[in-house]
Amino acid sequence: MPTISTLEAVSAARWRVAISLTIAMMVVYFGFILLVAFNKPLLGTLVTEGLSLGVLLGVLVILVAWLLTWFYIRWANTHYDASLARLRAPQAREGAR
């Protein structure tokens, strides 16, 4: 997204990304917690010897947290900081609109 030119647009884009990632994290986590709360037998089923579905999903929730963090950092480094740098550059200020 190299076309972001105004500070408001950059800020709005950051909030969109932040809120989307927060919602994704909440859905994954509370989905897991609700499963624990209301469907214990399902999570108790053994995937393999000594590993229940509950533990496996718990590890997956942690991995999703890492994945979303990685995604945010990658987005911030490549798009967000680049847009901010363009806004701060003096010649871009005249060029923007």
Partner: protein, 136 residues
């Protein structure tokens, strides 16, 4: 069966005191070099991302993680594991929502941020009581 659990352990106490002394020496050394709030909270911005990651990891993988979670899992099984997952899930959310506004404000602590917008004294008192209640 005899057990040494719960008995004073000279080696453990000695190492506890050694670590306390070492921490205090490092703190005193760092305090002499610290002149501004920027240096106090972020070491003047001279901490690299990797060093910061190490510090956060040290904070996160604390006694609470290793002893507390291990104890919780030992006592309540799967429910203890959920606790550690919820703890970790909070961190990305804090980063998504708070990290950038915090950086933009140029403040360092939660109370500083609130005090930037609200009346200083009551909000600092409320933040202090909240922190102390959670820790204690």
């Amino acid at each position: 069966m005899t057990s040494s659990l719960g008995q004073p352990n000279a080696i453990a106490i000695t190492f506890f005191l050694v670590f306390i002394a070492l921490s205090l020496v490092i703190t005193a050394w760092a305090a002499r070099r610290t002149k501004t709030a920027d240096q106090f909270y972020t070491a003047g911005g001279s901490v690299t991302a990797f060093q910061n990651g190490l510090a956060l990891a040290g904070d996160f993988m604390s006694a609470a993680s290793f002893l507390g979670i291990a104890g919780l899992v030992a006592l309540s099984g799967f429910d203890g594991l959920i606790y550690s997952i919820g703890w970790l899930v909070g961190w990305p959310i804090v980063m998504f929502l708070i990290a950038e506004p915090l950086r933009n404000l140029g403040r360092y602590t939660f109370a500083d941020v609130l005090a930037a917008r609200l009346r200083q004294t009551p909000i600092r008192i409320a933040a202090s009581i909240g922190s102390l209640a959670v820790i204690a």
